[in-house]
Symmetry: C2
Amino acid sequence: MTARPAQSPNGAAEVPEVVVSRLPQYVRALTRLSQQGTTVVSSQQLGELIQMTPAQIRKDLSYFGRFGKQGRGYSVKYLLGELRRILGLDREWRVGLVGVGRLGRAILSYPGFSPEGFRIVAAFDADPRQVGQMVGGIMVQPMHRLREGVQELGIRIGIVAVPASQVQEVIDRLVQCDVRAIVNYAPVNAQVPAHVRVRNIDPVLALQSITFYLTTLENAEKRGAAR
Amino acid sequence: MTARPAQSPNGAAEVPEVVVSRLPQYVRALTRLSQQGTTVVSSQQLGELIQMTPAQIRKDLSYFGRFGKQGRGYSVKYLLGELRRILGLDREWRVGLVGVGRLGRAILSYPGFSPEGFRIVAAFDADPRQVGQMVGGIMVQPMHRLREGVQELGIRIGIVAVPASQVQEVIDRLVQCDVRAIVNYAPVNAQVPAHVRVRNIDPVLALQSITFYLTTLENAEKRGAAR
DNA sequence: GTTTGTGAAGTATTTCACAGCC
DNA sequence: GGCTGTGAAATACTTCACAAAC
């Protein structure tokens, strides 16, 4: 058996993770097109916009259905709506933040989340000095309030911005509270059960791989003739 | 011709980008092991630590040389040193920041960069009200000083934390100043020439793909029997 | 004439499995 | 006995190319 999409236990076709990770980019591009008043777009045009091949875009979309019209392309409005629905972006997601140090405060005041439907509705911190403070319109709560807070407010997503040494413990607690999606800002790979998804935001890791290319380039230029 | 690593123009074996992106994770794990006093590690053990298969680790390393001893494993200290050298982490990298709004200030005060050898040595902003201010021990300079600043301070890496509408323009200017590596915090995909590497730090994109799994999970649970 | 949706072909990446060495 | 390094096999992902639809 070769590479056709595997079957999940419940029989639905499994969508490769890379494909899912590209959908938000399509959403973003389509949103821009929509704002500009463009009503129809071909995979060719969309591909130029976000630097992808038209074939890849069409193939990605084909995992979820048939959204285009031959000879014309895709209705921007319709495709955008469908992708938003598929990704679950057609509703508000309540997010809980753990850790209100410098980084946590920056996350709380970052204006990019709420327009996209991600609303930080609670903040927690282990430090008693932080507890009770108002940060970005939210009262910081102690960690022992985590379970109640998550349940009462319907929090489904956790953002973790605590020191590296505490990440695993905090994520364990979030998982115990039935949070199944976590965005981790600390430079550690936490271990989670298979049904929990973690995304790491790690600028240091990004820098450390980029320097490989700078270094390689430098060496190549040293070896090669002067340019 | 099949999948053996391609040859670059200068004849060096081309290393797949995914492989390079994993090396910093190895560095991180080895650093931790080293601090704990572990002197030797097998690919098996390392794999358990960072959730990767031993075969993948061995294969990745084999692109760069032979670092282990059969029957024993890898010397933590030696492998760490080699990987740091390969990635160019055995020296200090000077970084320039563009944009000192809320996000830029958070980046400037983030304590995670300098211990890893990334030193932010200059900050620039287009807003005259920001220019001249001291932020995190650095004087904010106007954008027209970018070229001189980059050259005088030996800046090789740019961090971009400006509003989405200005990202492309700012990145173009950085590229003109011969900066070849850029970390972009704004939610836009900038276009750059092939010799420039960009890494996007984009928590919204991360959230938007994670909700797919939450949504899918919910639907599956609704369809399936109660658990 | 244009562009989608998609099997088939082509690449890339991961994993296997084992000879060779400690 | 244990573990690396690596070709070969397996799997995953991308691109091609064309019939079908407009």
